[in-house]
């Protein structure tokens, strides 16, 4: 058993390391400070920090106090950040000082000398008796996902569901204090719940990577190797980029022991290539929308001649499933979220209670094959691109906010390489080019939602009932 005093809890790319003992001291100090600021059981604390030691300390401290953390993507446009903050009405916002509109006290979290953990704590002045979703359970966190009407929606996850998932991770993947875990997923993405908590509770080491670092797969290759990473939980897009552009076959990957992926389909050819390079690793396909975290999984047993994607597997312990006549997967079990914040009607549409379990209508179409579940597509228009969940309606809403655009139609289509491409057609008299349009869109949507193909000042075909004819658009769309 490693000595807690020296065993590293968190390590970043700036050479900063903090041991488990030091981390616990930080949590105690920050806990005292946050209590002074009014944080108590179920207080809502928005975390507006880039991935950093400060962010992990903030998240762990908020939970230590039984409060709810709401991680918000700092790289999102201001407009979107404000919509999220208006929706969740946090009592406290912890940020890095770049958000002047949320003025607050600068605080240095007491920590080992070499580290300077600096945050700004903004205390809300709004009415504490704001409207609440009627939540039956103690919440751990609220994660915002793309909303089809243009406003992101907050998925409320209970403490019980969070711990059910975390314990499932630790047990299923035998995570212990020797594990070197790469934190690839941003903290507003539910994969991070495994990263943060499995490492903290097992006393393993979590290596923090920011988005611009993750995007540089040459850098990631060097770091994953240098740090002898043994556990990685990420998206097929990241792993494919590592294979295609990271020149990973030049190195020895015998440290890598567990590779988990989720968020989108991992096509078999690149997956097999990765398995050939990381020969000591076990590979797992994890499935589940934000509303259920991981609800089914499948350990990959390599089939050399397999061409079609591997299954999403079988439900995690304690979970049940049903498939509707239309093929939609319904999941019930301990990991399932409570509902959407401030959205009673939508919550009632998608969530229900049965057999003493919370259930969710996933919107994913599945079929059963040889005792496993296989993913077949969506019943609605939601897009998954590079693991990100994107409602085309959110892109359309953003386009309509731009001057001279009178109508917009957004849809997706996969090219021959199975890459999802997002198309946006705009009607009106927009005076500039698509580069400018993308720039204008970035005032409202994050860059991962930008369309790939844009057609300006074109008329949108309509069906006989006067609705956008998406079927025609998709059939005629040319992709690259």
């Amino acid at each position: 058993m490693k000595d807690l005093q020296t065993h590293v809890a968190l390590s970043d790319m700036r050479g900063n390391n903090i041991s488990h003992a030091e981390l616990d001291n930080c949590l105690n100090s920050f806990s005292d400070k946050l209590k002074e600021c009014g944080v108590q059981h179920q207080t809502r604390v928005a975390i507006l920090l880039d991935k950093s030691i400060e962010a992990v300390v903030s998240i762990l401290t908020v939970r230590k106090l039984g409060a709810v953390y709401i991680p918000i993507d700092v790289h999102s446009p201001r407009n979107r950040i404000c919509k999220i903050i208006d929706d969740c009405s946090p009592d406290i916002i912890i940020h890095n000082g770049e958000f002047n509109e949320y003025s607050g006290e600068k605080f240095i979290i007491p920590s080992p000398d070499a580290l300077t953990l600096s945050v700004v704590i903004h205390r809300s002045t709004s009415d504490p008796s704001r409207s609440n979703v009627t939540v039956k359970e103690t919440l751990a966190y609220i994660l915002y996902t793309s909303g089809s009407t243009g406003a992101p929606k907050g998925v409320c996850v209970s403490e019980r569901a969070a711990y059910a998932f975390i314990n499932w991770c630790i047990n299923t993947f035998s995570i212990d204090s020797s594990e070197q875990i790469a934190s690839i997923a941003p903290f507003h993405f539910d994969l991070s719940v495994c990263d943060i908590y499995a490492s903290y509770l097992s006393k393993a080491t979590l290596h923090l990577f920011k988005p611009n670092e993750v995007n540089n797969v040459r850098l990631m290759r060097d770091e994953l190797h240098k740090r002898a990473i043994s556990f990685i939980y990420s998206t097929p897009s990241f792993l494919s980029a590592l294979i295609n552009y990271g020149k990973i076959d030049q190195l020895d990957w015998s440290s890598m022991s567990k590779v988990l992926f989720a968020g989108e389909v991992f096509h078999t050819k690149p997956l097999h290539t990765l398995m050939q390079t990381m020969t000591r690793a076990s590979f797992y396909n994890l499935y589940g929308p934000t509303e259920t975290n991981v609800c089914t999984f499948h350990k990959i047993e390599k089939e050399e001649s397999r061409v079609i994607p591997y299954p999403i597997g079988n439900p995690c312990a304690g979970h049940q499933f049903e498939i509707t006549p239309e093929g939609e997967l319904l999941i019930g079990g301990p990991n399932v979220a409570q509902g959407y914040l401030n959205q009673t009607a939508l919550t009632a549409e998608r969530f229900f209670f049965k057999n003493n379990l919370q259930w969710f209508r996933t919107g994913d179409i599945v079929k059963q094959e040889d005792g496993s579940l296989v993913y077949c597509g969506r019943i609605d228009k939601m897009i998954k691109r590079k693991g990100y969940r994107i409602e085309p309606g959110e892109i359309e809403s953003a386009a309509l906010l731009i001057k001279s655009i009178t109508a917009a139609a957004c849809f997706s289509k996969a090219n021959e390489d199975n890459e999802i491409r997002i198309f946006l057609l705009c009607e009106g008299s927009y005076e500039f080019d698509q580069i400018q349009l993308k720039s204008d869109l970035l005032n409202y949507i994050p860059d991962y939602m930008l369309p790939d193909v844009i057609k300006l000042n074109s008329s949108i075909p309509l069906t006989s009932t006067g609705k956008t004819d998406y079927t025609k658009l998709i059939a005629e769309a040319e992709y690259f």
Binding site: N216, R218, L219, Y245, D433, K438, S439, L442
Partner: protein, 85 residues
């Protein structure tokens, strides 16, 4: 062709094939931002790095794959030229 012009032409050909499609790459100025304007995303940037390495027989170090060196046709050409020396 001078070396720099050859490199620029190669970059423009890549952009025409991967990004610009119906908009000709002649519309793009040498100094127009590529990454910061979101014209190319991180994956296309990585494809470009692979392309430049193969075409000019050079190797990028991990820290060199960044906006500084890749954000415009002229920056890319200048960077590749230093690698060729």
């Amino acid at each position: 062709m001078r070396e720099i012009e050859e490199i620029k032409a190669s970059v423009r050909a890549f952009l025409a094939a991967h990004v610009l499609h119906d908009q000709g790459s002649e519309v793009l100025a040498d100094s127009d931002p590529l990454i910061s304007s979101r014209l190319i995303d991180s994956i296309v940037a990585l494809k470009l790095v692979n392309h430049l390495e193969e075409k000019f027989n050079i190797e990028f170090e991990a820290h060199e794959v960044d906006q500084e060196n890749l954000d415009s046709v002229e920056r890319i050409a200048a960077f590749v030229q230093t690698k060729l020396k």
